[in-house]
Amino acid sequence: MKHLIDPMDLSVEEIDGILDLAKKIIASPKDYAHKCQGKKLATLFYEPSTRTRLSFEAAMWELGGSVLGFSSADASSAAKGESVADTVRTVSCYADIIAMRHPKEGAAKVASLYSKIPVINAGDGGHQHPTQTLTDLLTIRSLKGRLGTMTLGLCGDLKFGRTVHSLIRALMRYENVEFYLISPQELKVPEYIREAMRQKNIVFHEVERLETVIGELDILYMTRVQRERFFNEEDYIRLRDSYILDMEKMALAKKDMIVMHPLPRVNEISVEVDKDPRAKYFDQVLYGKYVRMALMMTMLEV
């Protein structure tokens, strides 16, 4: 039995297998409508989530399985002080697979050590969120037709954004991916990520302004920059507009560039951009459901 705690738990071949299966499901969902009949997904969500929990639940329903679980720690025995280990031991008796979100880093790893059934990390604090990475990879492969030979721009908070770190690490394993890392000085990617890129001779550029490089990109991956992350007000005022994607900046981009965002979006992408055919963040949400269907089928070996 295998768990999915870190996106790097999966080899390139395993990722390709999951993405291939997702592609087949997209092409013919009816063929998969009963694949998980009789199977139960337990969604153990210790903190609120819109997309991830509903995406897991929709994925299991569409595979013909059923769902049980809780959507906040208050609604479970965690409120009485029950440990993650005891909770998963109990849930292992009721369900066939677990998707777990927890505010503390490493909680999913603890669950995997005590669970009798496969555990999927649906986010553990600021640590890992592997199904978001799979979602991003499926979106890129579906819309660009490949996972290598591309120029990817990551914009916004590159220091604290777990989705950004995971996506960089995952894409580093493919050929000819060039990165533009667009962020204020305070929010640059951590040194260990830069070091890993240097070791693999990955071409990357660190810049402060989106408008200066947007024309180079095949994919623009946006994240939110929070005001409180800046050390001084002056830098915030100088740079804040650079991290808001609007139609003026979109006019500088390639005709076939795609815009992605892990969502929720606050104000970093103007709503006017939603109408642009290059805006793909809501398609990304749909790919997230399909990739979770493929992942659960793979882990349940059905």
Partner: protein, 146 residues
Amino acid sequence: MNVDSLEQGIVIDHIQAGKSMEIYKIMQLGKLDCSVAIIKNAKSKKSGKKDIIKIEHTTDVDFDVLGFIDPNITVNIIRDGKIAEKKHMHMPQQVVNVVQCKNPRCITSVEQELPHVFKLVDGDKYRCIYCEEEYRPGKSKKGRHF
């Protein structure tokens, strides 16, 4: 206790200067009933300065813990006033409940009964197996727990 010579016991030698107190705390040498001597900033041919710890009577120490703290340490086992054995340390693959994860966002910060496990990664550093926070000497919240 004569710090120059031991009849029975161990000499933990070639400790990086300044690290002896960390070893003293992590190995909870303060709880031992026997004599323990700490020599700080002794002259060293190799590195100029070093620390030394001498423990009388006992030879029962956890070599994995010493290797975890500093793999350059050597341990001399003394019997009848002579060096009976010289041990070189190595970095253990993992240590359990030797140090605690200091990451306040780690699951171990709220679930007290979990063992604190650090695994050797990339050949030279230790990371918490849960949150992957790197262990940095001197920054651990608490000492050893059994």
